[in-house]
């Protein structure tokens, strides 16, 4: 384009040189990038051809990714005005001396802008990559492990013939199996590292430990290489979740204290469990050999089964579930799980990290764009004389804006290059943990398209904003620019003058009664230049939202109150009596024990009863919690707890049966139909979110009991839990807080990472933008500083004024941010969560107010203050004459 045209001009006016050589600098950078892109394309393509023969998925993936990356680089560099110079007299135009001059003139601004752009590109690309890899990983695991489409857990005796009959009657079943399992309590499991003194127990785990043999048809347990694991006698494969949690290694010894003595296994490896990868299913499987399984089976473990089905058409799962549940003869006293639930839960734990990354990067992009806008506008204002001069000699607007655009688009391109490169490295690190839990995702076109599309998106959006801001150049008038140094035209100038005159008419000191004069004039400046001071509060507003939301989600999921989303009342202890032959006897013992225990303040017992309701396919089973709800603290979305003749349903059940509060609902208990009134709808994420509550005593098939107990003041729930755990081996006694944290550990650890990431980036960006913005302000306020200093304001007083303005705007932005995060933020995140279909339709944050509404804002304000102090200290020297001469 312009290079030849401008060199005509270059000699005429010194100012024009400035821009010209900046343009050339960036053109030079572009040329280098272009060459880099092309050469990378060439070398990587060669390497790819060489290595295609010894196919190794991950290696090839990297090369492919690099090739795609270089290809996009080349393409993007071609999009930038100025690259055309390459074809003509490019080398003569690379004036590196002037390049250095430009950098020396505004190094801070250029670098800071670049860093923000790099952050944005990096997060956007890695968010896309992690997302793609996660989904890919989960899908790959599913392909190899072939999880069931529907499974039903069951404890105790069952009718095998009924299962056979059901299978023959349902041709939609592709295959099915009964998996025998034997459960051992975590308390009897221990590990030791041979040759060292390292050892420990697994008793901290509240999850059921089920020992199984490898399945033969489907639902395979896969080892680290995604192959189906077959332990030899004396070996075991341990769940990956335990490997991570207890730091286990292959070769360690696993000991089980059975009724007949210690069974000892060598840990041969770790297995990924597709259906139980998420601990929301509160059980996990250990793999042992057939012979070992037989021995464990007869040495005191509690037997359990899972009936599993794969269907010809997975879309039919819910119909199939209804059919299964409507058959009374089938075993069903445990949890039923569908493939969709498994998939959602698996995707959500790591998927949330990806979503959080994308969310963080979107906010960062917003910040980067705001920043680009402010920087460019400031730049145009500073260089308005040169722009006027170029217009005066007749250069078209497009040429002039091309000069600026080439610089900023080159900068964005460099940011995309660096950010994309960093994302490749980072996403490898981020996904390595995930690849351990799931399978290595196959490389598909999407693998490259996702991050590249994200980068291209960043690039295009930034360029669009640049173009938009640069349209200002079209409106600049030669006379206004050259004579008044103003970007405004005559009418705008007049209007602005009038506005200013109106504002200054009233004295700024009318109400002044002594006190800090510097603050007074700072306030007047802020009011008059509000537009130019907008960036800081906006950035801090976004930063607050950025760090508050993930943390609020985290504390919500970690809160003891979160159990109210799990359909349980707030309490200190939860005691589970699972189905066994002497269930009623155990219950009676437990009742007496709890009633006479002064350490417990309140105990509520609920029975898990299976009733039937009318579904699409006739009668089907539904789990109901039956008991006394009068003193209950569970939160109801609509309505309240059930009393006699009433039922309350979970959100998902209410949706499934299409009923709401005050509707009639018919159930069949113990063979007789009862019509109840729906009295309440509550949120529940346990048992697939499909539960119900009824008042009174259980009259039908009871599958277990749950006690919720609150402890007396000063009692430690953990101690009581251990005590009862020993006294009632058949019961699972857990402190509520731990129960919540363990069942949700996958999700919460994901949120923790997201929250940490958000804080790090928010602080970095806040510090960066504050520094950048204040540096720009300082440069533009030189004249003002000079005047005030000449009048007798000391350097430290000027510094205090800048600090005052900065801190005031930062505080205002932060405050508004807190308000926005608390109101809009909750609605936003709540909507996203309810879409996920977890059984929560109305998420109310349970924030840690001290943390998010006091500590975080203080932290951000401190960051703003420190940056302001750092920048303002440059005013200390009081360079009066230099400021005045500026």
């Amino acid at each position: 384009m312009s290079a030849r045209g401008i060199s005509l001009v270059a000699g005429r006016r010194e100012g024009v040189l400035d821009i010209l050589f900046q343009g050339n600098f960036w053109e030079g950078v572009l040329d280098i990038l272009y060459i880099y892109g092309l050469s990378g394309l060439w070398t990587h393509a060669l390497r790819k051809r060489r290595e295609t023969r010894n196919v190794a998925g991950v290696e090839l993936f990297n090369i492919d990714l690099d090739i795609a990356y270089h290809w996009v680089l080349t393409w993007m560099s071609l999009q930038i005005p100025g690259i055309g110079v390459l074809s003509s007299e490019a080398p003569q135009h690379m004036h590196f001396k002037y390049t250095l001059n430009d950098l020396r003139k505004n190094p801070g601004v250029n670098i800071a802008l670049l860093v923000v752009l790099v952050f944005s590109a990096f997060l956007m690309a890695s968010g896309a990559m992690v997302m793609e890899r996660t989904l890919g990983s989960v899908n790959a695991l599913f392909d190899q492990a072939k999880p069931p489409h529907f499974l039903q857990m069951h404890k105790g005796a069952y009718d095998k013939a009924a299962l056979d009959a059901f299978a023959t009657a349902h041709p939609e079943i592709d295959s099915w199996l009964i998996e025998d399992m034997v459960g051992y309590d975590s308390a009897v499991l221990a590990w030791a590292r041979p040759g060292t003194t390292e050892s420990g127990t697994l008793s901290k785990s509240l999850i059921d430990n089920l020992f199984v043999t490898q399945n033969t048809a489907f639902d395979f347990l896969l080892d680290a290489d995604s192959t189906i694991a077959y332990p030899a006698d004396g070996e075991t494969f341990v769940p990956v979740a335990y490997q991570q949690r207890f730091g286990l290694q292959a070769g360690d010894e696993l000991r089980i204290r059975t009724d007949v003595g210690i069974e000892s296994f060598v840990i041969a490896g770790f297995v990924r469990d597709s259906q139980m990868a998420s601990s929301l299913s509160s059980a996990t499987r250990f793999l042992v050999s057939d012979a070992d399984f037989e021995r464990l089976h007869t040495s005191g473990g509690s037997p359990e089964i899972i009936v599993e089905y794969r269907l010809a058409d997975p879309a039919q799962t819910s119909n199939f579930q209804a059919a299964y549940e409507s058959d009374q003869s089938l075993p069903k006293n445990g949890q039923a799980v569908t493939g969709d639930m498994i998939r959602i839960i698996n995707a959500i734990s790591d998927g949330l990290v990806a979503i959080a990354l994308m969310f963080v990067s979107l906010l960062l992009i917003a910040i980067a764009l705001l920043n680009v806008r402010f920087v460019i506008r400031g730049r145009l204002q500073d260089e308005v004389h040169q722009i006027g001069a170029m217009k005066a000699i007749g250069l078209p607007n497009s040429t002039i804006s091309g000069l600026y655009l080439s610089k900023y688009s080159a900068m964005t391109l460099i940011a995309c290059v660096i950010g994309g490169g960093l994302a490749i490295v980072a996403s490898r690190a981020l996904t390595s943990g995930m690849q351990a839990s799931y399978a290595t995702a196959p490389v598909t076109a999407l693998t490259f398209l996702a991050p590249i599309a994200a980068l291209v998106l960043v690039f295009l959006v930034v360029i669009a904003i640049c173009r938009h801001v640069l349209r200002l150049i079209n409106r600049i008038e030669v006379v206004g620019a050259l004579v008044h140094g103003s970007t405004l035209n005559e009418r705008q100038t007049a209007r602005r003058g009038k506005r200013l005159a109106r504002r200054v008419r009233r004295s700024a000191f009318t109400s002044y009664r002594g006190g800090d004069l510097g603050r007074r004039i700072s306030l007047v400046d802020l009011r008059s230049e509000a537009g130019q001071w907008m960036l800081l509060p906006l950035v801090f507003l976004l930063a607050v939202v950025l760090i508050t939301l993930p943390t609020n989600l985290l504390t919500t999921f970690q809160s003891p109150k979160f159990v109210t989303y799990m359909g349980a009342p707030e309490s200190d202890l939860r005691i589970d009596l699972q189905f066994s032959d002497d269930l009623e006897q155990v219950r009676e013992d437990a009742d007496t024990a709890f009633a006479t225990d002064s350490r417990l303040a309140q105990v509520h017992r609920f029975a898990n009863e299976l009733v039937e309701t009318r579904g699409d396919e006739g009668w089907e089973s539904m789990r109901v919690e039956v008991g006394d709800y009068s003193g209950n603290t569970i939160q109801y979305l609509r309505g309240g707890p059930p009393s006699a003749g009433e039922i309350s349903l979970s959100v998902l059940n209410a949706d499934r049966y299409g009923v709401d509060v005050d509707d009639e609902f018919t159930v069949r208990r113990d063979g007789s139909e009862v019509t109840l009134t729906v009295n309440g709808v509550y949120q529940d994420i346990t048992s697939g979110g499909q539960t119900a509550k009824m008042a009174g005593d259980a009259t039908g098939i009871v599958t277990g009991y749950i006690y919720y107990a609150t402890t007396a003041a000063g009692q430690d729930p953990t101690v009581i839990a251990t005590d009862y755990g020993d006294r009632f081996p058949a019961a699972t006694v857990v402190p509520m807080r731990e129960y919540v944290s363990q069942t949700l550990s996958y999700v919460t650890s994901a949120f923790f990472n997201a929250a940490l990431l958000a804080i790090v980036f928010a602080i970095g960006v806040a510090a960066l933008i504050t520094t950048l913005n204040l540096t720009l302000r300082l440069a533009r306020e030189k004249r003002r500083s000079g005047i005030l200093s000449a009048l007798g304001f000391s350097g430290s007083e000027l510094a205090a004024q800048l600090r005052f303005k900065a801190i005031l705007t930062v505080v205002i932005g932060t405050m508004i941010g807190v308000a926005v995060a608390a109101t809009l933020g909750e609605a936003l995140v709540g909507a996203a969560i309810s879409l996920a279909g977890l059984g929560i339709s109305n998420l109310a944050f349970i924030p840690n107010p001290l943390l998010v509404y006091v500590a975080y804002p203080l932290l951000l304000m401190a960051v703003g203050t420190i940056s302001a102090v750092a920048v303002s200290s440059r005013l200390r020297r009081g360079d009066t004459s230099a400021w005045l001469r500026a």
Partner: protein, 265 residues
């Protein structure tokens, strides 16, 4: 503030408002460093109106900046009354500038977010934050005196250059300074505005204010009691003109012009 140990009993020193001894200034930002002031020895008497003349680039502005602490001299001393200014901290120097010095620049340096009167009030209020009523009365009287009271609440882009420069004088005087510095106060004005401003300055001088003014314009310099000539950072000559009377303006002007011609001005 550092009190100098200067003997205050000497009658010659009592009437000296400002003394510079061997004042030097070099800028190190250039290669080789630029030596702008080469050892200036200058004494300004109490109540004197001193004009500083010299070619462009000879260091006149730099001299004013170094004396007033807006620039740090490389070597030498500046003494204002009993104070050694070169030994003051930046903060004390600023305070001295606020309470003892007034400035008038060639360009009118005003804050655009304040009206004319607020700009004038600003340094005075800073010097006496508790005495707003007194300060306002003083400033309003000055606005009347210099004929700009009717534009007092105008924005600074809504008044003429002469009015703006008279406002500069008001602002400089509002703190009742010991010395008034003026760097080409009429440099940007046409001849009628120049006359307005010089009349104002002469009036101020009559009231007893010490003035040190840099100017290129012999018609302005002629109003001074004494003219010094600066060349390449050195004071090369000075000329006592005696007290200015309206009547003998043209004689003084001829005298001054021939003196300047001797210096190739």
């Amino acid at each position: 503030m550092t009190l100098s140990e200067a003997p205050s009993t000497s009658p010659a020193l009592v009437t000296t408002a400002l003394v510079t001894t061997a004042l030097e200034k070099s800028y190190h930002s250039t290669e080789p460093p630029t030596r702008v002031l080469n050892g200036i020895d200058l004494a300004v008497r109490q109540g004197e109106f001193l004009a500083v003349m010299g070619a462009s680039g000879s260091g006149k502005s730099t001299l004013l900046y170094c004396i007033s602490g807006m620039d740090r001299p490389t070597a030498g001393h500046v003494r204002l009354g009993d104070l050694d200014l070169t030994e003051l901290s930046e903060r004390d120097m600023s305070h001295t500038r606020l309470t003892k010095m007034g400035f008038i620049f060639q360009q009118a340096y005003f804050l655009s977010n304040f009206n004319l009167r607020d700009n004038i009030l600003l340094p005075a209020l800073k010097a006496q934050p508790k005495a707003r009523a007194e300060v306002e009365a003083r400033v309003d009287a000055m606005l009347e005196r210099f004929g700009i009271a009717h534009v007092a609440d105008h924005g600074i882009t809504q008044v003429s250059g002469g009015q703006l420069q008279r406002a500069s004088i008001c602002r400089a005087l509002a703190t009742k300074p010991a010395v008034l510095f003026a760097d080409e106060p009429t440099g940007a004005l046409n001849s009628s505005m120049t006359l307005e401003v010089m009349d104002a300055l002469t009036g101020v001088h009559r009231d007893g204010t010490t003035i040190m003014m840099v100017t290129h314009d012999p018609a302005c310099a002629v109003r001074a009691d004494r003219v010094v000539y600066l060349r390449d950072g050195l004071l090369v000559d000075e000329r006592d003109l005696g007290a200015w009377q309206q009547a003998d303006t043209s004689r003084r002007e001829d005298e001054l012009l021939s003196w300047l011609r001797d210096h190739d001005f």
